[in-house]
Assembly symmetry: C5
Homo-oligomer: 309 residues x 5
């Protein structure tokens, strides 16, 4: 995720045009340039296609429908981005609540359990981040008891497993009468929220905009850009080429931002700072439980960097 607070406009524009989608955008613009150049030269030098008479109201009607479809694309992509962000925000809130609850419910005597629960809270965010980015890294998890490693290795879905361990410990403390009925009931909703968060993220990741719409909008854009030069060539002459290039840049670019935004859990420049949020959760859990945390974690939890993954 890019957060520009201090840097200037030019840097921002530069950054924006060097990501991976920028490359893809350039490819498409090259195709447009070739097409427009060919069309312009043929029209102006050789033969006059009937298409230059395209009446304005027809092109405008197309333009309005295309604008509305692009806005629909933008709105749905943004909604997913925002839902992804809100969901991770809810995870931060839940983890803080669980930390406060464990801190105030569990006596200092059950030191091992307090440590285990704090580390498990930290682990969930890390496991979810890696699950969404499909990078299974056991090393990033903080295991405090011996049996944990074997359990993780025997299952596929690590966020599920972390919750299994968390609730397992809670039920055990309840069976041992360290937690009362009322406390178990109070903890329940917050623990259930964890797998809700994990499932919502999986859903956002696995369900893009229906393929029909995505393809349809692409085809429409191609048709519109294909017919547009004919309607302006008479007025612009050879200036049609740069004008068409800029127009294509805006139409294609808008569609591509949609594609990039709607799956916000990767490491693209517009994606969410999952790594920072996971560190935030780790730092807060430790601070609330009055346990020490490494200074690097504290640094990584701050949103001050230019580019944050």
């Amino acid at each position: 995720m890019i957060i520009y607070k201090t840097k200037g406009w030019l840097d921002a524009i530069w950054h924006f045009h060097t990501g991976s989608s920028a490359v893809s955008l350039l490819k498409r613009l090259s195709v447009v340039t070739i097409y427009v150049t060919v069309v312009t030269v043929i029209e102006l030098r050789y033969l006059d296609l009937r298409l230059t008479d395209t009446p304005s109201q027809y092109v405008q009607a197309l333009g309005i429908l295309l604008s509305l479809l692009l806005l629909f694309r933008t709105n749905t992509a943004y909604d997913r981005f925002y839902e992804g962000r809100s969901t991770w925000g809810a995870l931060v809130n839940t983890m803080r609540n669980l930390s406060v609850m464990f801190n105030t419910m569990l006596p200092q005597e059950v030191r091992a359990d307090r440590l285990f629960l704090t580390k498990t809270i930290s682990n969930f965010a890390v496991a979810l981040k890696n699950h969404l980015r499909e990078i299974p890294q056991l090393a990033e998890l903080e295991l405090v008891e011996d049996w944990q490693q074997k359990e993780f290795e025997s299952v596929d879905n690590w966020p599920n497993e972390v919750v299994n361990q968390l609730r397992g410990r809670v039920e055990q403390l309840y069976a041992n009468r360290i937690l009362t009925d009322a406390q178990l009931i109070n903890l329940n909703d917050q623990i259930n929220r964890l797998l809700d968060v994990s499932g919502i993220c999986e859903r956002i990741k696995s369900t893009p905009i229906p393929f029909s719409y995505s393809l349809f909008i692409k085809l429409f854009t191609v048709f519109y850009l294909g017919i547009l030069p004919f309607t302006v060539i008479e007025w612009f002459g050879y200036m049609t080429i740069p004008i068409m290039l800029v127009t294509s840049y805006f139409l294609i670019g808008l569609e591509m931002i949609g594609v990039e935004i709607e799956e916000p859990f990767g490491t693209d420049r517009n994606d969410l700072p999952l790594s920072q949020l996971a560190h935030r959760i780790r730092v807060d859990a430790h601070e609330i439980m009055r346990l020490p945390v490494a200074k690097e974690d504290k640094m990584a939890a701050k949103p001050d960097f230019m580019i944050v993954n």
Copy 2:
């Protein structure tokens, strides 16, 4: 549901135009083609209807209202698609939570109950999928106790019956003091969510966009496409025919995607991968409860296929 990650554009376009709605789309486009050809030939060869003088602002005003109505259609259809997907996503989350709860609350001694509950969790998703697709298949359900078959055969609504069996077992464990008051309270919300999911899916399936709107938008599109050729014929001549064909393709196609998307529980190409999600639930429930699951189930739970039902 189609997920194109690896294949190219051309394959995608080909696929898109070979489904069942594609056939229906072609039929309608044929009608348009015949109409436009007749109109064009008559206008250019024989008589000049007054309609060619249709002023541009009139057609544009129609075009804007039609575009807004098509967007309304698209938005409502997409909302249903998304609500359907979110609801099945919520089912996955609930089932994982129930699995974790049963795993940590029930001691290993009640092995039969653990098995029964795991299988019942798996059965719900399968029963709901078949209920929505109206294919009653008892064979797909995993029955572990003898009385179950008779019960299923005596009722019509299988998702209701699965929940009846699930809650029946939970209340029995509570009566036998294996589950405490607090645990029964904690399980309650998650169990209630199951019939919420089932009812929401039934509602989406049985309530399309109000018929008046659906018909109204169709009539409006027909009128617009009927009057459009007259306004461009003067400029395009015989090119009116291909231009109108493409225009009709976009207007009619947009409406048809709406129809296809708004009921997302079938087996159309844009529909939701219910079968895969049901397998996902089965695999996760078994993994969390530490019960073995068939390898084919694990395969079927992965979203890697080109076309997933």
Copy 3:
């Protein structure tokens, strides 16, 4: 509610134009026809009003604002329709959950209570339907104990009374120790949902779109239709009359669908199938509680009819 799955287009269009709003639509279109005819004849035969010079951009600007307002009307009307449908959907879910809960919590010995609760669940949907349609029919309710009739007759709001009876029985079973604390807590949310459903429906029914907006949109449509003929008369000549008629049909029709949809609890053709949903609840409650239900009820619960109230 009309559900066309099998019948053809022509039937659908015929049906659509024979309802009560169709009559009202025809009346308004007659007024438009008279006005346009008078204007056209005067303009073409006698005097040239200055209005025929109305510049296109002015009419277009009006057209865009009017289109956006009609879409606003359509969106808000549809939202109410959808909220009404979702609310009744939630009622179905709640009733199924309550049935499953009563079935699994109450032992077979309290047969009278099981019967009373099943019938009371069925009664709520019927009472709510009749309350919304303002047809107080005691005969449709299934009373199983003698005191019920007197109670119903002494109060005005029957849905409230049904819930009073339902919760009264639950609290009594709790006082008699047949329901435990945990079970009473679990039942609570579902019972509370009933009066939420009833209140939401009352609200949708009693609060249409603010009168100012409704009137404003009507006035705007009248003004637009009043000025439109002058801007096209020059081009269309006497064809202005049929063209204006079709245009009015779309603009007035769109507004009228909004009026019809936004109060979806009546028996108009677009209204919700409350009667069918109430039967659905009755059938499911009996099936879940393993009580017999009349075959006619089962038939009436199916959504297969052409027109369902």
Copy 4:
């Protein structure tokens, strides 16, 4: 709130134009009339400003942006109106639920408590209505115990105080073992909803649309109306004056309805019928608790009046 079911159109239009915002609307329209008259006379009689050459696409672009902004204004105002109505609807539901709960949980022996709670339920809606309308009237509250008056007089926020009294009595009944743990838990959510309702209403009342947007839209409208006559004067001549007047009526009127709707708790013609809803709550609470209620209250709870405050 105006509800027109029986009266005709002309009455409705008359009513609409005699409220307090109508006066304000007339004032603004007078300013527009003067401006347009001056501009028209100067243009047509004396000098030709360059502005009459304003190209159509420029004015149209302005018109589209202005239309979208007015729609944004309309949508946000309507959302507040609807949120206000839904919130009061939720209050009705909550109060009915609380009445049913108190009726079925409390034995007939604690007659004084039953009376106190019924009256307190009625009081909350009245206190909230008066709090929102800033008319502190102790007389409208029904006090049944001596200490209440002194308490009300010692605090500023009466809705808070009513809830304080309500929960105070509930906790006292719990301390006296008349309410059990489970019953106290069940009552909790409904009681908490009361202050949620009160806070949401206060928020809607105190937070209009951000001032920047409100001012911005006003300035934009002024600029658009200031430039519009120049673009039509050539075509309309002296008819520019009435045409501009009607146009201003629609643009300014739309903005003013927004202002009126977005704070729906006053006594304007479009505002919510708070008084009727408060009576509705009083009547229902008494009916459910089987306590007598005055006939005037029953009358005032019905939505049948032409104009309901």
Copy 5:
């Protein structure tokens, strides 16, 4: 936050144009003025660029897409503003509920605990306000027990710490049997809401609209404003300069209001009155708990000022 109820229009416009964003707006408008002047002079005096032939439909299509994007910007910014306001509104409601609960659950004997909880409720809103505005001020918090200061100084996130102290005291009262199981369960949801509020505010603050969209809309505006003068210069002549200035004012201004609104926790003129809301919470908590509060606090809780931070 600016609330204009009594002052006139001119004051409002003056105020609006003297904030910090106004300065920024002026800078941008100066750039536009220079550009337009240069273009106009060159075009009219020296050479005729081909661009003046830009066809109207092209510029209009751009204008429509830009209008829709600006509306998207406005909608998303407003949604954040509204979410921020609603969240603080929810905080007010929660705090009142907690105050009522503590007042009615805790006997007068535990005077020290009642005082501590009231002050802690007040502290949360203040700590959150300062946390969001990044001004750590211990002096504004009301500490009533000695150990508190040390705790605050040892942690970074003060809202977390306040909740830690609040729940710590509640769990202690529960361990001491002053609060029962049912009361602890009832308090739980309200306490959990506090960190939800705090997390939602942090999320709104740290996640602006995705950078791509923000930059894209800026670039599009620049391109549109760059090409617009050529299309009107022929008609307007030197009047192009003031006309362009006003147009730029509206386009750039709309985008800038979006930037200002979307992070509503600062002390800009459109920002939320956090300080007033925090005082509101303090005053209400004390009033409900029957504790005295300073008169200045009461004054600061009122929304009557012209400009409220």
